[in-house]
Symmetry: C2
Subunit: 212 residues, 2 copies
């Protein structure tokens, strides 16, 4: 009752397949920074009839927007499942950060979409931002982080995270886990944690990476 089964019948499943093919093609082009492709090229890449595009989206912009949104949503729901195990908000923050850095090696293309979409992701009230805000505020109230304008903290941590993802993208052979943990450590230090506490939070074992 609460939620429909994934697809009600064969027509709906086919419809969803087409839609996903379009979103996938959009992600592919966005990950290459090619937002100027024609709808024709998109439907070709999706292996879908040209007219089908308009069964699902009103415009290219709408498709691209949904493509970004879907990435943010899928990933942040996954995150929620993972961090449900932790109580300390500082640890939740650290685990999220460490998992997200590692994500670059799992879905480099998806990450590239975000990287190309500019800093404005940090203003979207969906995805990791609202979650990071909650974690940071809670950690501040718990005395784990120094007091600081939460939005500043988000911009600092979010910017550093995006920078890390960009660096990992440019260095395919680097040790992603080590670099990510180093960056997490630095961000925790930036938030006023002492060395030992920051060290501890960035050296605990992580839950296994979920497959996407």
């Amino acid at each position: 009752m609460a939620a429909e089964p994934a697809a009600r019948n064969r027509i709906d499943r086919r419809r969803e397949r087409t839609r996903n093919a379009l979103l996938g093609a959009a992600r592919k082009f966005l990950s290459e920074g090619r937002s100027a492709v024609s709808i024709q090229e998109i439907t070709d890449a999706a292996d879908v009839g040209f007219g089908s595009f308009y069964n699902h989206f009103e415009s290219k912009d709408q498709l691209f927007d949904e493509a970004v949104r879907s990435i943010l949503q899928i990933y942040s729901e996954m995150r929620d499942g993972i961090v449900a195990l932790y109580e300390d908000p500082a640890e939740v923050f650290a685990v999220s950060f460490r998992m997200t850095g590692r994500l670059q090696r799992q879905i480099p293309e998806g990450v590239r979409v975000i990287l190309h979409s500019g800093m404005s992701v940090l203003l979207r009230e969906e995805g990791l931002v609202p979650r990071a805000r909650r974690d940071i505020i809670a950690a501040q109230q718990a005395g784990r982080f120094e007091p600081m304008d939460p939005d500043m903290a988000i911009m600092a941590a979010g910017g550093a995270l995006l920078g890390l993802l960009q660096l990992l993208d440019a260095r395919p052979d680097a040790n992603a886990g080590a670099l990510t943990d180093e960056m997490t450590f630095r961000v925790l230090r930036m938030f006023g944690m002492n060395k030992r506490a920051a060290q501890k939070l960035t050296s605990t074992e992580l839950p296994s990476q979920p497959q996407l």
Copy 2:
């Protein structure tokens, strides 16, 4: 002999005026994230004949690329002039950071171009990046910053800087100087400076803002 005078004659000056009008229009559209405008719209906004476009640029992409490059170049030359007064590399870094945050209030449109261009600015070997790398490495060697992979440091500081600029853009009434200094303080802490030293570097008086 070393460098030509700004413009040799009237023809050259006119040519440059046209070119600058096109670059200005490109910046305007890029600052609005509208990279899909037609060349026609660009020449209209520049108040320039349509065909003139091709006297100066081969394609829209080339124009946009030069528009971004020109912003980076103009700003970083200005920075070089300012920081020439300082010796301590950590102070050079701090002053650069603090001036750049304040820049958002001076040329919000130019900053918006950078914000829309995505994280890839942090990979460009022009503009602030190579300068920041030199400063960071020098500060590490001088023992002012903790040792750290310089590229990681750049991504962390650059990401935080872009995040700050994005926040300032979204908060036109906020105290840009105060927020910028707070962010600078945090970044210095991230690089391992102690509170007192970081405090000192972010509370010194800045040289007067140059007009652009």
